[in-house]
């Protein structure tokens, strides 16, 4: 990790060429065996489609040993938690999910999974999602949950353990448009069909996200290609077409498409931290755009800023 030299101006920090931290998509997923409804698998990946195919043996390279067990293949991806800002956070979530009986993210007296052998039901798995999302560490990240199967969503809504997530917004829980119902008695054909359908849904989900990002990338590219632009807060210039790294700090555009606001990330940060009493916090929860005044999650700005930063590679 390289440190930037202490700047003469607090506001603009010359950011080194860092690898993009906010990945397009990094998710933790829950697999359920189609044939053996009591078998689950938790993992994390930046590419859920590829990973699912690895699990199901369609792609031979890529390990997925634990899911090779006889009788469990093929697997169905039922839930996906995404929106992690970096790989580390995703790993931590995955580990916590797998070890819900001992993770420090869940307080001891609140545990719903009590020991290693317990907590194997789907209700438990879903409950742990709730618990982890409630944790203050993961709350910073504004994670989203996506379901591929309406039955599972029903179970989620049922909320067997009566867990609440603070500040959960509606759009954080989503469902694929066409989810499928799994009949009780499965035959070989059914299994294959379900598996295919599931893969299709996952592909849709993934593609959607990728497309969104591609689209945003294009927009930002268009904007930046003009050369030098100015921050609307501090009026200093930056130029993402230049070779000089100093002219390429973290900047952002307002997520609102109709809004033309742009600024340094640091300027926005300073503004954000000064207005509200965020004294105890380092990372703000949300921030108003200066011009359109719509409040967005801080993570949204970071997504944009890191996306822009990665454009100049």
């Amino acid at each position: 990790m390289s440190q930037s030299p202490s700047p003469s101006d607090d506001q603009i920090v010359s950011s080194q060429t860092r690898k993009r931290t906010y990945p397009t998509l990094y998710c933790c997923y829950l697999l359920q065996s189609i044939a053996k409804r009591r078998s689950f698998y938790i993992g994390s990946t930046p590419h859920p489609v590829r990973r699912l195919r690895q699990h199901n043996g369609i792609l031979s390279r890529g390990g997925a040993y634990r899911t090779k067990r006889d009788g469990t293949r093929p697997w169905e991806m039922i839930v996906v938690v995404y929106g992690f800002p970096n790989k580390i956070a995703a790993y931590q979530y995955e580990h916590a999910w797998q070890h819900a009986y001992s993770t420090h993210f869940i307080a001891k007296d609140e545990r719903i999974v009590s020991n290693k052998t317990a907590g194997r039901t789907l209700h438990h798995k879903l409950g742990v999602i709730r618990q982890l999302m409630n944790n203050e560490y993961f709350q910073h990240m504004n994670l989203n949950v996506h379901f591929f199967n309406s039955d599972i969503l029903e179970m989620w809504d049922a909320n067997k353990f009566d867990l609440t997530i603070t500040d959960l917004e509606d759009d954080q829980i989503t469902l694929s448009q066409q989810s499928q119902n799994i009949p009780n008695v499965l035959e070989a054909d059914d299994i294959i069909n379900i598996s295919d359908k599931n893969l299709q849904l996952v592909t849709e989900f993934y593609d959607k996200i990728i497309q969104k990002e591609m689209y945003s990338k294009d927009i930002y590219k268009e904007k930046l290609i003009y050369g030098s632009r100015t921050c609307q807060i501090c009026s200093k210039k930056y130029d993402y077409t230049s070779e000089d790294d100093d002219l390429k700090p973290y900047i952002l555009f307002c997520p609102n498409k109709e809004c033309d606001f742009e600024s340094h990330l640091s300027c926005l940060y300073a503004k954000c931290m000064s207005s509200s009493d965020n004294e105890a916090r380092i990372i703000p929860i949300s921030c108003h755009c200066s011009s359109c005044n719509i409040s967005f999650n801080w993570t949204k700005y970071i997504e944009i800023a890191t996306l822009i930063k990665s454009l100049d590679k």
Binding site: M1, Q3, S4, S6, P7, D10, V13, S15, R18, T21, Y22, P85, N86, K87, I88, A89, F105, N135, E136, Y137, Q139, H140, M141, Y250, L265, S266, Y269, E279, A280, R281, I282, I283, P284, W298, T299, I302, A305, T306
Partner: protein, 738 residues
């Protein structure tokens, strides 16, 4: 076969037999065995070679192969001793017999056909040829006949090949006169084969003799072995009983000896070491296993060493030879000059070593010479050595300050700011190898301080605590008053003279007694955010533009406090502020304290309140901390979230540092942890690079984080890692390990 060759063969064989010496016999046996082996070698490998499609006509190959094969045989069987060889040859003979006959018969047929077809032009024909009689005999076998046939077959083969092998041997070992003769003979080989029988028996007879000798030898060996003394590490312990049994003495003696022997027998079974180990460990089987393994290892080692000794022999130089060698070296290489030696010595050991006398203590006390001074002195060396020295990150004129100076001396800041301002100054650890001069103390002056404090760069530095000066009789903040009574300027801290104290005493400035008495000795005041001390008389509250608030206290003496502060807060609190001590209890019972009901001993909390005579406790913070028991101290540390420490002094130190850092506001029991968190948050917000990493969700190495925070506030070093992780979780900082 030609008569000449046959005779020659016989002579050779006889030569071998004539020597009566055992060694010679052994040697001869060896050679004969080698010959046998080679013969065997030729016989079997030919069968093998047919499989490998090696041209049987290629005699050179075969002879080589035969030799190789024999060597292999030799090596495989670990030939160390003749009997082994004998055994192997016997075995080989036995084992190969059955296999060989069929193979040989087939092979010979083929070869015969081949040879007949190809003619007799080839030299050193190594084809096995069976005379017709034998071939016929081979078709109706009886056991005896078979044996005979074997032997005869063997003999034939041997015979046929013997001269070849002998030739090859001769070629290798003897004159090559025979070659010419041999060449002439090849043509006659086939034709004369039928006449070989009587030759074979002679040779067979010789072979029989050899075998008898072998047997004799082996039997002799075995009998000798019976008389062998058993050894502890010998593998043949199983024989020990027999051996001992065979020792026959007079009955009385034998009984005694039997007892002894039994004892010793037992010892052999269970060595002394074993016994002791058994007694000690109590695990008999385990001990046995260990010892057996050890024995095996040793046996292997001895084996290996023996083999290596056999295979390789090397010699070491004796004294005379070494002397010669050293002389040669000295002549060859030029001598090193004295001064170069000295340079190297100095580089390694440092110059002062020479200066210091044999007194180790003094040597340890003398400060190391500053590197850059050295460098300045010696330009030549500079170029030579400087690149090898460790990276000297500090600018050369930054100096280390001792704790007392930091505590007591205003001039410190002045001194600091006179140095370059751009670079980030670090306070060096005294354990660093590089040496810095201790700043000589200077007398403070108010004006200087005020000027200095307006510097923005003060922001970067941690709160520098300056207690008030001494009592009136003592001069104002002079270095000499506050430092230990040693000759400081020599840089030698002589602990034998006096105990080292940073300051002479630490007394809270807060006490109204002191305030009233206008006699203030040393003061220890936490560098809180708000103004902590204000006298009634004193109204000049220098609120500067910066975050630093300084208070100049007393008429005569001046006390200055520098700390992070919120100017707004301070102003809100108004000018006339008086400091009150308020203590809180960490753990319920106060039985240890001097029971001052008004006091609840605990970590310092200082509350500012206007002009009321306080019922502040009589004790200083430090006294209170020191008066707490270890248990309480530990608990305190745990609640705050500091690193656990073992010694009481260290804990007190940690707690005092903590107290300096904490805010003056209400500190409840539960919020002390939060105070730490808040402190950490504040620290982070002052490091823009770190801050950016955090709010962009970039994973931060935890060591980097801690080190950066510690740079700006040494208190962080006291904080436990667990506390830091909790704080990071709360703040959404993603941490990663190296």
């Amino acid at each position: 076969m030609d008569f000449r060759t046959a005779q020659r063969n016989l002579e050779l064989v006889n030569q071998n037999a004539e020597k009566d010496d055992l060694d010679d016999l052994e040697a001869n046996v060896n050679t004969s065995i080698e010959m046998d082996e080679e013969i065997i070698g030729t016989q079997v490998p030919l069968a093998m070679f047919s499989d490998d499609d090696i041209d049987p006509m290629d005699s050179a190959n075969s002879s080589q192969h035969s030799q190789v094969f024999s060597q292999k045989l030799a090596s495989n069987n670990e030939i160390r001793f003749d009997e082994v060889q004998l055994q192997t040859t016997d075995l080989a003979l036995d084992n190969k017999n059955t296999a060989m006959t069929t193979k040989i018969i087939d092979q010979v047929k083929d070869n015969l056909n081949l040879e007949l077809s190809k003619g007799n032009d080839s030299d050193q024909n190594s084809i096995i040829i069976i005379p017709d009689g034998l071939h016929k005999a081979g078709s109706d076998p009886t056991d005896d006949n078979m044996d005979n046939l074997m032997n005869n077959n063997m003999n034939n083969n041997m015979d046929n090949n013997m001269d070849k092998n002998i030739d090859s041997n001769m070629d290798n070992n003897m004159d090559s006169n025979m070659d010419d003769n041999m060449n002439d003979d090849t043509g006659d080989n086939i034709g004369d084969n039928r006449d070989e029988i009587f030759m074979n028996t002679q040779i067979q007879g010789r072979l029989d003799d050899f075998e008898k000798e072998k047997l004799l030898k082996s039997s002799l060996k075995s009998t000798l072995n019976h008389f062998k003394y058993p050894r502890f590490d010998s593998p043949s312990i199983g024989n020990s009983k027999e051996n001992i049994g065979e020792l026959k003495k007079s009955p009385a003696k034998s009984r005694q000896s039997k007892l002894k022997l039994q004892k010793s027998n037992n010892d052999k079974k269970v060595s002394r070491a074993e016994r002791v180990l058994k007694l000690l460990s109590g695990k008999h089987s385990k001990v046995r296993d260990i010892i057996s393994i050890q024995r095996n290892i040793e046996a292997k080692k001895t084996k290996a060493s023996k083999t290596s000794q056999n295979s390789m022999k090397f010699d070491i130089y004796n004294e005379q030879e070494w002397k010669q060698i050293t002389q040669l070296i000295f002549e060859a290489f030029p001598k090193v000059k004295e001064f170069e030696m000295k340079e190297v010595y100095h580089y390694i050991y440092g110059e002062e070593q020479e200066v210091a006398s044999g007194n180790m203590w003094e040597a340890s006390q003398t400060p190391l010479l500053s590197l850059h001074e050295e460098r300045k002195g010696d330009e030549y060396n500079y170029d030579k050595y400087i690149h090898r020295l460790p990276i000297y990150s500090q600018p050369s004129n930054v100096d280390v300050v001792s704790l007392s100076q930091v505590m007591n001396d205003k001039s410190f800041s002045e001194f600091k700011f006179q140095s370059q301002s751009d670079e980030y100054v670090e306070v060096q650890d005294s354990t660093d190898d590089e040496v810095f001069e201790i700043i000589p103390m200077r007398s403070p002056s108010k004006s200087v301080i005020n000027e200095v404090e307006t510097e923005n760069e003060m922001l970067k530095f941690p709160p520098i605590l300056r207690p008030p000066s001494q009592k009136g009789d003592q001069p104002i903040l002079d270095a000499t008053t506050l430092i230990p009574n040693t000759n400081f300027f020599n840089g030698v801290i002589d602990l034998t003279q006096e105990s080292f104290k940073a300051v002479n005493s630490l007394i809270s400035p807060v006490k109204t007694d002191y305030i009233e008495a206008t006699e203030i000795t040393q003061v220890q005041v936490p560098a809180s955010r708000n103004i902590t001390l204000q006298r009634e008389n004193q109204s000049n509250l220098d609120l500067n533009e910066t975050h630093y608030n300084t208070v100049n206290l007393t008429q005569d003496n001046s006390i200055t406090y520098q700390f992070y502060g919120d100017r707004k807060k301070v102003l809100d609190n108004n000018f006339n502020i008086e400091l009150i001590e308020k203590y809180q209890i960490e753990v319920g019972d106060s039985e240890d304290e001097n029971n001052d009901d008004l006091i609840e001993p605990s970590i310092i909390e200082i509350k500012v309140r206007p002009n009321t005579p306080t019922s502040s406790p009589n004790k200083s913070v430090k006294e209170i901390i020191t008066s707490q028991s270890m248990k309480k101290l530990r608990e305190n540390m745990k609640t705050i979230g500091l690193k656990p420490l073992k010694s009481k002094e260290k804990m007190i130190e940690a707690l005092t540092v903590a107290s300096q850092v904490f805010d003056a506001d209400d500190i409840g029991l539960h919020t002390q942890r939060e105070e730490v968190y808040r402190h950490l948050t504040l620290l982070v917000k002052q490091i823009p690079s770190l801050l950016e990493k955090i709010y962009t969700f970039e994973p931060v190495f935890i060591e980097d984080l801690v080190s950066q925070l510690a740079d700006s506030s040494p208190f962080v070093e006291h904080i436990d890692e667990v506390t830091i992780r909790e704080w990071a979780d709360k703040q959404g900082i993603c941490l990663r390990k190296n």
